[in-house]
Symmetry: C2
Subunit: 342 residues, 2 copies
Amino acid sequence: MGINEFIEVRKDFIVPSRISIISKVRGLRPKEFKYGKVVRKTPLSECPFCPGNEFKTPPATLVVKLVNGEVLYLKDSDTERVRDWKVRIFPNKFPALTTLGTSLNYGYHEVIVETPEHIDLPYVKDLNQYVLVFKAIVKRFTNVLKDPKINHVILIKNYGPLSGASLEHPHMQFFATSFPLPYVVEEITYSTKYYKDYGRCPYCELISKDLNSSRFIYGNEGFIILSARAPRSPYEVWVLPKRHERSFINITDEEIRYLVDALQKILKAYEKCLGNPSFNLWLHTSPKKLSNGDDYVYHWHIEISPILTTWGGFEKGSGTYIIPVSPEEAGEYLKKCVRELI
Amino acid sequence: MGINEFIEVRKDFIVPSRISIISKVRGLRPKEFKYGKVVRKTPLSECPFCPGNEFKTPPATLVVKLVNGEVLYLKDSDTERVRDWKVRIFPNKFPALTTLGTSLNYGYHEVIVETPEHIDLPYVKDLNQYVLVFKAIVKRFTNVLKDPKINHVILIKNYGPLSGASLEHPHMQFFATSFPLPYVVEEITYSTKYYKDYGRCPYCELISKDLNSSRFIYGNEGFIILSARAPRSPYEVWVLPKRHERSFINITDEEIRYLVDALQKILKAYEKCLGNPSFNLWLHTSPKKLSNGDDYVYHWHIEISPILTTWGGFEKGSGTYIIPVSPEEAGEYLKKCVRELI
């Protein structure tokens, strides 16, 4: 086999201007990638996300509490904090957007504490806990999107020391903006074009095409997980809802359970088979409107990108990503891993 | 002053779909950013870029040697290596592209060793040495671009442990591709549109507009250095040739001296006033043709992005960058620093 077979340039299926170079020349195996070791930065007693320290953060905009098996959705006041919560959502202390803003900088930047437990795991073992988390997110998103000044919302999770996370207590963040976010706009532009050209949503097409490929990792009744065709990092995966739907907030309670099942599978696989790497996760959902106001095609989804290599000047300066493992090998490895974990 | 004044969303002047959020909420000062300490990974005797170890790399495609004050441009053979060189350019041992390729993966991926000295500095103190480096790069680029299968070339430098660099001996890399690189295509698309709308190159417009702003850092007869208006990292700068020119390979010998002067000024300022941070540098020059084949407007330039914060899920997933220092403050700080260093 010559060097030619070890190097392949490919374009993303959705946004063809996103290019990956699959170069297996270095021949790295899964365990040879780098990982930042998780180091506890704050003493547990000072963790602002732990129960008892609620006054270290701004008042929560949404608190989930279980009382006699019933789910209550509450709010903090300025002077009081809800105790014995299961999930807590509050404004980021160092916001990138503010509801005191008047123009482009208007927005929400909030933190979602996923569990009262200060544990170093990208997921909680309890499926029901994560269902509470996602139900709370849907509730908060629905509310925030009612604000006429808000157009778009993105959910993200940074896990581990290389991810940009500054606190280890399991949490996510969301950003609600007055403008549609660039990468989602790009995806919508191309999805709409694809629909015009082929009469079908390209994400739906991807789901049916990749279902029988080596990039297929896992599927349940609601979601499938694919190894990204043109990843920006090795072992990047996409979690796609089977039902064609533009907006995440229209997810059903039943679908939330399937989503949580899928996320737990892949995050567990990352932990067990990739050595618990740092990762970034983002959820792409539709803005309320695009600037041109046209009708458009979109399919909400989640992308998860483990941090196993460093982007250098080539990646940052060209928009082209060198990936030392093929997405097909990555898919097969993770599929095998998920199966062994079940 | 309310929080509103601390947060500003702005769009890049050239590519409006690149968005930065300037959030000074954290109030970080220059010395409070993080830096990866440079750690020597290889014993000096094993450094493949040091004189004496030429056989550890593939044969050089271009070697610069000085003999009695005369500059010679030579090549290695398979069995012999040129000794006593000043600059050495050779194929990357772990290439992302290959001339053995047949389609999209066809290309050159080469390393430029900037000096025989194994020193930990982003520049050599000797202006003449860097002039030799850039003359060699122009020569090699000119040659590579004669290859009919090559369309585009990008020069990059990764400096420091957070940059993706795996060897510390001063070096750059270039990638020559059969396809035009995405970010340059984006810049060309918008530059051409701007030209159609306003009758002027937007980079030329930027040079004249920002010359009297607090984003202006340094200028000489050939180049100006600006603090980027909508940076992707704090203290990102753009080095722009004053002469409107699409292709870097048309740089004159006189301009090379001014380019080196400008680069040395800003890299010295990074070292002295930002604590010697890791950085990525890339040179954007025109491809030979765009896919649509139309005529277009472009202005080659260099962007330098120090690594002082970590991109998280928001940056990677939205294409929007949170920057904790305003480009105007960054410009004033670096301008003051450059002036004190002169």
